[in-house]
């Protein structure tokens, strides 16, 4: 005891600095060496699929003992799997519905915890040759729905009905979208169709990039998907808001909500109230809700969570607050 005190007293400033530096250098190494293992499985959204795989890859790079298993067939697949206990994580591009929540509570005895992890918007896009630039929400409804719950626009059969002329006027409209398992489908139905019914001839494809690819290869097509998917093969349309101003799904318009079809992307967790997340799940969320994890979001074409929402999400999971220094935590 006395020896140690003496040693500390005797240590010079230089020595202390070295110790600190060494400790700082070792910290990440120690974190890497932490004996984290187990299986991290996730079921759910296809929109989030790219993000989940990227996060998963990073997690398993950090903790090689961890086995990451990601299924991403659509948001709709998450609630049944969560309720049946077939997964602990459910990635969803839409909030759970009342019925799904009730089903979960009936099976698990407590409500699931929704953690927002990124912002997204439903984008509408057409073939890159298509001269159309903007659409209003009632027009979107008329394009995709049989019902008219939002507006009164008559059915649109030809591109001419949307004001295109020349060759385009008599070209038919081909519609592409996601299947019912998808959160994009459900959200589009709720927000753009006001809860109405899709036309029966809207092609339902099992993946967002398939929608983009199909629209990119068909001149007459229009489709919808999440923000991270459109490529140079298609042209993203601006949506006119209530005042008639066209809004493109840009970063700012999504964060401010001025683009009409914005949404958060969630990861639902089966976590009983009062319980703490197990270490592995904590590590995962710590990564996702860190600057590194949010950089992945931006890289995939989505919008990272604004700082206050990020902090709130971390608080809800009882993760340590982020130091407000934008450090690069990659290698």
């Amino acid at each position: 005891m006395s020896e140690r005190q003496a040693g500390r007293r005797g240590a010079g400033r230089w020595q202390r600095l070295v110790t600190m530096a060494l400790a700082l250098c070792w910290l990440p190494v120690m974190a890497m060496a932490a004996p984290l293992n187990g299986t991290l499985g996730s079921v759910g959204s296809d929109t989030l699929g790219g993000l989940m795989t990227q996060w998963g890859e990073r997690l398993s790079a950090r903790y090689p003992q961890v086995r990451v298993q990601i299924q991403a067939a659509g948001s709709g697949t998450a609630p049944p799997a969560l309720a049946a206990g077939a997964t602990r994580f459910g990635a969803m591009s839409r909030p759970m519905t009342d019925a799904e929540r009730a089903d979960f509570i009936a099976h698990q005895g407590h409500p699931p915890l929704a953690v927002p992890v990124a912002l997204d918007a439903l984008t509408l896009f057409v073939h890159r040759d298509n001269p159309l630039d903007t659409l209003s929400l009632p027009e979107v409804e008329a394009l995709f729905a049989d019902t008219r719950y939002c507006g009164q626009v008559p059915p649109l059969r030809r591109w001419g009905a949307l004001g295109l002329d020349g060759d385009w006027a008599k070209r038919p409209i081909a519609r592409f979208g996601r299947n019912t398992a998808s959160g994009s489908h459900a959200l589009f139905r709720r927000e753009a169709l006001c809860g109405g019914n899709f036309r029966r001839d809207v092609n339902e494809l099992p993946g967002s990039s398939a929608v983009v690819a199909a629209v990119g290869r068909s001149r007459e097509a229009i489709g919808y998907a999440g923000l991270g998917y459109p490529t140079a093969m298609v042209k993203v349309l601006a949506l006119r808001d209530d005042e008639g101003t066209p809004r493109l799904p840009t970063h700012d318009n999504v964060v401010s909500g001025r683009y009409p079809l914005t949404r958060p992307l969630y990861i639902y967790v089966n976590l009983a109230p009062g319980e703490r997340l197990p270490a592995l799940e904590r590590a995962f969320f710590d990564l996702v809700l860190s600057p590194e994890g949010q950089a992945v979001v931006a890289r995939q074409g989505f919008v990272p969570l604004p700082k206050p929402r990020l902090a709130a999400a971390r608080r809800a999971l009882r993760l340590p607050p982020l130091v407000d220094v934008t450090q690069s935590s990659s290698k």
Partner: protein, 458 residues
């Protein structure tokens, strides 16, 4: 000269011949498309640099054209926000393949196309020009250290990339055929041996290869004994009557039941039923994280075993039926019991058919995707289910599968268009695996039939 007329006979001959030709043509075209595009994926294609009439400069790999426009894969998603560029043919002022264009596969942002300006070494040195390139080449071989690459795209925008981010790097325009072949081989090897990265669009497919093979192996471990036993029962033990015939027809018909129905059964009975119970009995401490109560290797193998049982049963029965009765009677007459006759005489003779059945079952199982989508295939599961951790073989874990990867990359990767070559490569691999299995079965059957014929005649 009298023009000869084609007789009715001739017409039918040629028409039916056309059917053969068309069927073969379709398959050959399909295979050729898949295999060539799949293998071409690894070929380091030349990078073109274009100057447009408005002064813009573009570097990219040409990927098809349409209605006066050419499509280029320009990479650099971080700089341009896009990896594709459509260029009007008329707008192209000049085209060339400058030798110093660099193609970098990065772990984070996908590929980069541009030029190398400098490299940084751990010592803080900044090397430029030819020296930088030499140093980089040595670093790639592992002889020297480089920390950061300074890159510039053709428009002049520069960026820094950490060396650790570089998955591979080449100057394709400078390569001769030999270099390109070597790079191609290296690419194929990486594809076969690495785990996927960058949201499955980079790296390799090793976990999927392993997952497919392991799942099929487990399946054949289950299906072989049970299929053979069931066939033995139906053919040798059960009393031959209308009931047996009915059962036989039923089993045979189950081979025609859609695979997705087996998937439904697997999900309902194995995953939700059996799995849920196993979890609550043996793994209650891990709940709510499921162990067996979710799709996994075991359930997928069992489901596919059920699916392929009829194949094995039918093939084995065929083999058993071909064993001459005289041999059986001879064996029994010499005092052997029925079991001994089976073991020593009948089964060895029918062994080839059993084997054929199992191989056919394996070939069928390797190509099935629909039921797997319900019972345990994953988009990403980079850790293979066999490791040094107890119990070594992780039956409960989800796995990747080549067939599902084809579906997933084609429909649900980030950019289906960019992933297309990778899909072709994966599809090629899948087709090769299945063809090898099938060819084995066909050759085996051929040999065995010949042997049987000899036996029957002797």
């Amino acid at each position: 000269m009298r023009i000869p007329r084609l007789s009715g006979d001739g017409v039918w001959r040629w028409l039916s011949g056309a059917c053969v030709a068309l069927s073969l043509l379709a398959v050959v075209a399909l295979l050729a498309l898949v295999v060539t595009r799949g293998l071409a994926h690894f070929w380091p294609a030349d990078i073109e640099q274009l100057t447009l009439d408005d002064g813009q400069r573009i570097a990219g790999i040409p990927r098809g054209s349409q209605a006066g426009e050419r499509r280029y894969f320009t990479a650099n998603r971080d700089l341009d926000g896009q990896v594709w560029r459509w260029v009007e043919q008329q707008a192209i002022e000049s085209r060339g393949t400058p030798p110093d264009l660099l193609y970098v596969e990065r772990r984070d942002w996908g590929p980069f196309i541009g030029r190398l300006t400098a490299v940084e070494t751990p010592a803080g040195e900044r090397l430029q020009g030819a020296e930088a390139e030499r140093r980089l080449r040595r670093a790639l071989r592992g002889d020297a250290d480089v920390t950061t690459l300074h890159l510039r795209n053709v428009e002049g925008r520069s960026l820094k990339v950490a060396f650790a981010q570089v998955a591979s790097l080449s100057w394709p325009n400078r390569m001769d055929i030999g270099d390109k072949l070597a790079a191609w081989g290296h690419g194929v090897w990486r594809f076969l041996s690495e785990t996927p990265s960058d949201g499955n669009t980079g790296g390799g497919v090793w976990p999927a290869i392993f997952g497919t093979l392991l799942m099929v192996m487990l399946m054949s471990l289950v299906v072989t004994p049970f299929g053979v036993l069931a066939a033995l029962y139906l053919n040798e033990v059960a009393r031959q009557g209308p009931l047996t015939r009915l059962v036989r027809i039923a089993v045979r018909n189950l081979a025609g039941v859609p695979s997705i129905v087996y998937g439904v059964f697997g999900l309902g009975v194995f995953v939700y039923g059996l799995g849920g119970h196993l979890d609550s009995w043996f793994f209650a401490d891990r709940l709510p994280s499921p162990t067996f109560g979710t799709g996994g290797l075991l359930w997928a193998s069992l489901t596919l075993a059920l699916l392929t049982l009829p194949v094995v049963i039918v093939a084995t029965e065929e083999g058993l039926a071909r064993v001459p009765v005289a041999l059986r009677e001879g064996s029994l007459a010499l005092g052997a019991t029925r079991f001994e006759t089976l073991r020593r005489v009948v089964v060895p003779m029918a062994l080839p058919s059993m084997l054929t059945g199992v191989i056919l079952a394996v070939a069928r199982a390797a190509g099935e995707v629909a039921p797997l989508m319900l019972v345990g295939v994953a988009k990403l599961a980079p850790a293979i289910p066999l490791d040094d951790e107890f119990p070594f073989l992780h039956l409960e874990s989800k796995f990747m599968h080549l067939g599902y990867l084809v579906f997933d990359l084609g429909f649900a990767s980030r950019d289906a268009e960019a992933a297309m070559p990778l899909v072709f490569a994966t599809a090629t691999l899948l087709v090769i695996v299945i063809l090898v299995l099938n060819v084995t079965a066909i050759i085996l059957r051929h040999h065995l039939r010949a042997r049987h014929r000899a036996l029957e005649h002797s």
